[in-house]
Amino acid sequence: MKRFWVLLVKELRELLTPQTIIPIVLVVIVFMGLGKVISQQAKLQGQPQPVLVIDDDDSAASAGVVELLQHANLTVTLKKQAALPDFAQPLNQKAVIIIPAGFGKALGAGQPARLESYTIQNGFSIARLADSALVSGAVAQVNAALSASRLHQALPHADPAATLAPVKNNEHIVVAGKAANISPAKIVTYLNSQIAFVPVILFIVILFAGQMVATAMANEKENKTLETLLSVPISRTTIVAAKMLAAGIVASITAIAYVYGLHSIQSSFTGSQTVDAATTAAINQLGLNLSLHSYLLLGLALFLGILTALAIALVLGAFADNIKSVQSLIMPLMVLLMIPYLASMVTDIQTLPRVFQIILYLIPFTYTFQALPNLYVHNDSLVLLGSAYELACFIGFILLAAKLFSSDQILTLRLGWLIRKR
């Protein structure tokens, strides 16, 4: 056992170099910084946005519209009968709204009254998405207020809200056989916010673990240390286990860094949105809270996913001549990860054609990516079944790795050999 620790410490020292530690630290710093920037942007978006309103109509109706715009979370700079500003010059406004002459007259005649608007789009990122809908959102509020006012004038005893939306939908959601009286969109949004980053983290961690162990193998070959290591009085199984555990530890450190960093970004998106009491009650009613048992099953699926990736990478790493060849060798593992990763991000596996379902379920990592969604709908048996399959895959690949390590092939296998074989 002591010799195993000696090997493990050496492996960790080889893997935890400044070249690996600095990027991990940078990820945390960059993600946290990004989170702060996004958070500030979100706060700015929530504040009243500056718009220039040019009132060419100068009527009571146009004055009423300007007042309604001010209530639509806009800071209005009003100019009467002014020329359109030169957009080539800096203009500290998000939009320019023109109320043309005749606007009040058309409104009074019950005809559509036109506004002209110019949205000043200074970027095309997600953060700037709200800018594009600034004027249309404000105009929708103006329309709602004017419609309610007209309805009140025409039907003084009617409830404008009931007249504008005569049918009300009392929404319910059913999840895994349990129903709750709440908008499905609210629950889906909540669950999405909980699991959105999980596949990203799983992908990074599993791939990183695989790369680590393949690199450790390539290092031994490139530094010409493998032959010496194979001749010392320590079993090949111990060598394999030390390499795998070291890679697993480094991958876990990376996972923690990524989880922390991505959590900062996620918080910046959702920080201002607190879950209301109705949503919390519905979540409890639907049983959409993860229990300790669920977390243990999730941990098991992740652990087995990492172990399987390590075992596959160890086999692939046996073909490495040097560090450069690791990138090419790790490609099959990357493909095996990419397919269930993308599938879990963009689609529901159950809705795919049977042939794609079979392909996906043959890939052991599918069960890791699907574990959290399955646990939310209490499909624990599928998670357990998936874990058993992952365990079987791990045992298969680790036996193959052990066979390679205890044979001549660990010295004779090369990437070139593999290509020539094809």
């Binding site: 010799r3 020292r13 530094n223 240390t225 032959e227 001749s231 009085p233 010295l411």
Partner: protein, 240 residues
């Protein structure tokens, strides 16, 4: 008792026969050199004795232990220095020796003894605390040789121990090898360098095309072939 007994050893890679019917023995404190051109089967033979490659046929015994059946026991008794070998670059010379010593013993006192002995053999001075990545080829080779010798093995297998080194470093390494046999360690080495072989070896085996053509003491072999040096002998044997 022989420290090493190699009997009708053979190794093939598919249809290519790398080593064929090789037999020799080495006694305690003896230096035996395998001499031959590139691709003659020297390194393959050494790797099989070092438990890294599996023989296709024949047997190898180290101090009476079969290399295939008792590989773990054999690894306790031998050390192996491959022709192309390196040390872990992230470690200092001393850390490397500590790491390697830890793979041979769980006893911390013994571990310290091994490291101390290795530091004396390597004789790298203050550089022993520097990262291996800063070492010259000669320094690395001395460190690796010291690692191979620190446990006072029954059998040290040294593949081209002075390969690519300058004259001074080569001389140092030859002295180290010579001194260690005084403690009873048997040495099996391979080399292209006939002068080195003549200086170092008690007995040699001339290997060509995977087969041992001749074994014996250098002076006896020279006399048998009426040759001034081993290079002449080698040319005669190889062309025969």
């Amino acid at each position: 008792m022989n420290v090493l007994t190699v009997d009708h050893l053979a190794k093939s890679y598919g249809v290519a026969q790398a080593v064929s019917n090789v037999s020799f023995t080495i006694g305690e404190g003896e230096i035996f050199a395998l001499v031959g051109p590139n691709g003659a089967g020297k390194s393959t033979t050494l790797r099989m004795i070092a438990t890294i490659l599996r023989p296709t046929a024949g047997t190898i015994a180290v101090a009476g232990h079969d290399v295939q059946k008792e590989a773990a026991k054999v690894r306790e008794l031998i050390t192996y220095l491959p022709e192309e070998s390196g040390a872990y670059k992230a470690l200092s010379g001393r850390e490397y020796l500590h790491f390697m010593a830890g793979l041979y013993t769980n006893d911390s006192t013994k571990r310290r003894e091994y490291v101390q002995r290795a530091e004396e053999i390597a004789n790298l001075g203050d550089k022993i605390t520097a990262k291996v990545s800063t070492y010259s080829k000669g320094m690395t080779r001395k460190l690796l040789l010291a690692r191979a010798m620190m446990t006072s093995p029954k059998l040290a297998i040294l593949d081209e121990p002075t390969s690519g080194l300058d004259v001074l470093n080569s001389l140092d390494i030859r002295h180290i090898i010579h001194d260690l046999t005084k403690q009873g360690t048997a040495v099996l080495l391979s080399s292209h360098n006939m002068l080195e072989i003549e200086y170092l070896s008690d007995r040699i085996g001339l290997i060509v095309g995977g087969k041992i053509k001749e074994t014996g003491r250098p002076q006896d072999i020279k006399a048998r072939h009426d040759a001034k040096n081993l290079e002449e002998v080698f040319l005669k044997v190889a062309s025969a």
